[in-house]
């Protein structure tokens, strides 16, 4: 019964979203209030319906209903409960429903904020979001129904892929999808504003916190994914430039550009046409990502089993949404005013430079991801585009962006005298250069990349400190408060910006150090053997067998010594999952602030010895720390009082 109920609810949601996408639009064009209010109602209603439908899917998994194809393929009665729940988004069908649920959730959040926005604008926004939901509902119902039955029901399921049986699976996809789908909100705002012909700074102010929140979720989602890959895959990498990673990274880059561009649109009324285009591109890239993962046009670890009809459907839907919005843009954008003028050297200039560089690096990733497909389609042979390409092109485009990031907050709006700006950045430039060179002097091996990375990190920190000091001095001067009191007067949004930029500095230290100084060794070890890497010695004490709920594993017991002193014991595992007959490597990691020691078991050899892989990863946690600090900054910025219009009105 439960699957049928879920299925019925999907049909119901289809009707509701159809109403939501058509009626309010008519209402907004004719000034018909009841029709516009329909948007609010259907926006909330569809969330409730889809939420219940998703609940039906989760219930089918929890209740081990193996007459449902999706459950039979992705679950098993022995699977632990948290993974049963996570398995509901472990397949293509289930994850599409999660996608839809997130979309409905964002729609709901927009709909209950009704006091903030004029009803005409709001109803257009909800209509656009309703149309997207409608398309995905059609897709789910006709090509990827998660409630499909099989007859006769199977006695037991074929289990969730062991790679996915990890806490990461419980939290990473929902976060990532929140971010992915959240890109629909700035898109809907932009399209609604284009339709209504009203693109002013209030539009930008409304759009900002939503964009920032979507960006926060995307940041956390990507960082979690990277961390999960690091500890789960067993070879210590944290970013592979895999097409699917790229698919999530492109909207992130574009959303980052969008956030910065929005700040100019709000504060100076500038870049409006550009901002609208970025909002459209961000969501288009998020849809493109969905297409790449689910159509099979590209080879990837993450790709779902593909079926051509699905690819055709998503491509069709993608083409409708993207070309309609880009055509609308082409028609309406020429009428958008250009805003106030500015010169090259100004805060606008720095933000624009940053925007352009981010967009160019997005283009680089898109090109790298799709180039093999282009050549193949033109019958020019097959090539691979991998990390060496992305590393070179991406770093050479983003390093200048990071440099401008240090200047932006220090420059004035509209126009800054070069001599004035130079005076402000001279000090931090010197300190950053001096500090980076000093650090290099004590490194064992130096390389230009390390110099660049350390310089940029110190440069950002210098810029943060200078910006903060000046801001405090300014407030103190204007208000005659003491400096400490002035510090309290700084708005949360400003702190958020500084925090996020600090996160970037931390992140850069991480990637620089791990890129330059990581080391990896394979050893062949028997019980009692020891292996050394730097000052660390690893002794293999023995093996243990462990029974898990749906696997059994061989656990290697290692003692790690640092300069002959006992440091920690590590126990990497080799697991065998019964149902899927799959062997999985579980690495064991000693995490520290300045280094990770990473141990994973390779293959057992015939003579009873094992291949053991030992990695030394300096500063690797700084990568994810940095990302989380960035996300924290985003949260602070999104909750700045300025954006809370309810409070302002009261």
């Amino acid at each position: 019964m439960i699957p049928e109920l879920g299925n019925f609810l999907l049909m119901l949601a289809l009707v509701v979203t159809a109403i939501q996408s058509v009626m309010p639009m008519i209402g907004a064009n004719r000034g018909n209030l009841p029709l516009m209010h329909l948007a609010l109602m259907s926006g909330k209603l569809q969330f409730v319906i889809i939420f219940c439908s998703f609940g039906c899917l989760v219930a089918s998994f929890i209740l081990n209903d193996f007459s449902v194809l999706n459950v039979a393929n992705n679950s098993n009665s022995a699977l632990p409960l948290p993974y049963k729940i996570a398995a509901s988004w472990g397949s293509h069908e289930g994850s599409m429903l999660l996608w839809l649920l997130m979309l409905a959730g964002w729609t709901f959040a927009v709909a209950i904020n009704k006091k903030q926005l004029p009803i005409e604008f709001l109803s257009r926004i909800l209509a656009v979001m309703g149309f997207v939901s409608f398309g995905f509902l059609l897709f789910i119902i006709f090509t990827s129904n998660p409630f499909e039955r099989i007859l006769p029901p199977l006695p037991d399921g074929s289990d969730l892929n062991p790679l996915l049986q990890d806490p990461g699976m419980v939290i990473h996809p929902p976060m990532l999808y929140m971010g992915y789908v959240g890109c629909v909100v700035p898109f809907a705002f932009a399209v609604a504003a284009l339709l209504g012909g009203k693109l002013d700074s209030t539009w930008a102010r409304w759009s900002r916190p939503w964009t920032t929140m979507a960006w926060v979720f995307l940041t956390i989602g990507i960082a979690l994914g990277s961390w999960w890959a690091y500890y789960e895959l067993g070879w210590g990498g944290w970013w592979f430039w895999d097409p699917v990673e790229n698919a999530s990274f492109m909207p992130w880059l574009c959303a980052t550009a969008l956030m910065h561009s929005l700040s100019v649109s709000e504060k100076r009324g500038g870049f409006k046409a550009w901002t609208v285009l970025l909002a459209i591109l961000t969501f288009s890239l998020s849809l493109l990502g969905t297409f790449l993962v689910r159509s099979g046009v590209i080879t990837s670890v993450h790709a779902f089993a593909s079926d051509p009809s699905r690819g055709v459907f998503i491509l069709l839907f993608l083409t409708i949404i993207v070309s309609a919005s880009l055509l609308l843009y082409a028609v309406r954008a020429p009428r958008i005013g250009s805003g106030s003028s500015f010169e090259w050297i100004s805060r606008e200039g720095a933000l624009l430079a940053n925007n352009v560089l981010f967009l160019a690096s997005t283009a680089a990733i898109l090109l790298g991801t799709l180039y093999p497909l282009f050549l193949d389609a033109l019958n020019l042979g097959k090539i691979s585009v991998g990390p060496p390409y992305f590393d070179v092109v991406f770093v050479s485009l983003t390093a200048p962006a990071v440099f401008f990031m240090g200047i932006g907050p220090l420059a004035h709006w509209r126009k800054t005298e070069i001599s004035f700006l130079l005076r402000r950045i001279r000090g931090m430039m010197l300190i950053a250069l001096f500090g980076a060179v000093l650090l290099l002097l004590i490194t064992p091996r130096w390389s230009p990349l390390v110099l660049l990375g350390l310089f940029l990190a110190l440069w950002i920190i210098g810029s943060i400190v200078t910006t903060l000091v000046e801001r405090v001095a300014n407030i103190a001067l204007k208000t005659r408060f003491s400096k400490l009191h002035a510090l309290k007067k700084i708005p949360l949004g400003f702190w958020g910006m500084l925090t996020a930029h600090f996160g970037v500095a931390v992140f850069i230290v991480g990637i620089t150090m791990v890129g330059a100084y990581e080391s990896e060794k394979d050893y062949r070890m028997e019980i009692g053997d020891s292996a050394a890497i730097g000052k660390y010695t690893f002794v293999l004490d023995g093996f243990e067998n462990k029974e898990g709920p749906n696997f059994n594993s061989t656990v290697g017991k290692f003692s790690v010594f640092s300069n002959k002193e006992f440091l920690v014991s590590l126990s990497p595992e080799k697991r065998f999952y019964h149902v899927q007959q799959m062997v999985m490597t579980e690495a064991s990691i000693d995490t520290g602030i300045t280094r990770d020691l990473y141990l994973s078991l390779g293959e057992p050899l015939n003579d009873g010895s094992w291949v053991v892989r030992i990695y030394y990863k300096p500063f690797v946690v700084w990568i994810w720390f940095g990302a989380f600090i960035m996300a924290l900054g985003g949260i602070m910025a999104a909750f700045d009082r300025r954006f809370n219009l309810n409070k302002q009105i009261s």
Partner: protein, 175 residues
């Protein structure tokens, strides 16, 4: 032209490529060896174990070289097709036993029939690397000058045999 139309035009190009991409297979890799001479090797013969499977000596007439192994399940799938082809006597088929135990190969051929004129043994897979083999079974069509005309990755199918192999053999004979 309206510069604001540019993003739309770029997108349409992109969409066209993506649509084409739906009908391409990203996984099969064309061999750079097509149109090139067979790499030379002198391998042990399956039955006797002496170095008598000399690839250069096979050249002179068109032939098929089938890379297979007894541990490879898809090889079993294509095996009846190979036997049929051998029975047609239009072309000689040679086998290359890939990273396999000699007695296993012999037993496998006894059980499933032996369509090969003779079988070379590539126990370490070194010659297969020279041939650019990346997934057994693979089948090569070689002309009378020793040039590789065609390569099939994965099991042969009836269509491949008719459209790719037999047609090419016809062409070779009519020349």
């Amino acid at each position: 032209m309206n510069k604001y139309l540019l993003p739309f035009i770029v997108f349409i190009f992109l969409a066209a490529f993506l649509a084409k991409g739906l009908y391409l297979d990203p996984q099969t890799i064309p061999s750079p060896l097509i149109g090139k001479k067979m790499p030379a090797a002198n391998l042990p013969l399956l039955e006797r174990g002496e170095a008598e499977f000399n690839v250069t000596q096979l050249i002179g007439q068109p032939f098929l070289l089938n890379v297979f192994a007894s541990w490879c399940a898809p090889c079993l799938v294509e095996h009846p097709l190979l036997s049929n082809l051998a029975a047609m006597k239009v072309i000689d088929i040679y086998g290359l036993s890939y990273k396999d135990n000699r007695s296993n190969t012999i037993a496998w051929l006894e059980k499933n029939g032996n369509p090969y004129v003779s079988v070379g043994v590539d126990a370490e897979g070194d010659y297969a690397i020279d041939l650019g083999v990346y997934g057994v079974p693979e089948t090569f069509l070689i002309d009378s000058d020793g040039v590789i005309l065609f390569k099939q990755v994965g099991p042969l199918t009836q269509e491949v045999i008719i459209e790719e192999i037999l047609e090419r053999i016809e062409d070779l004979k009519s020349e």
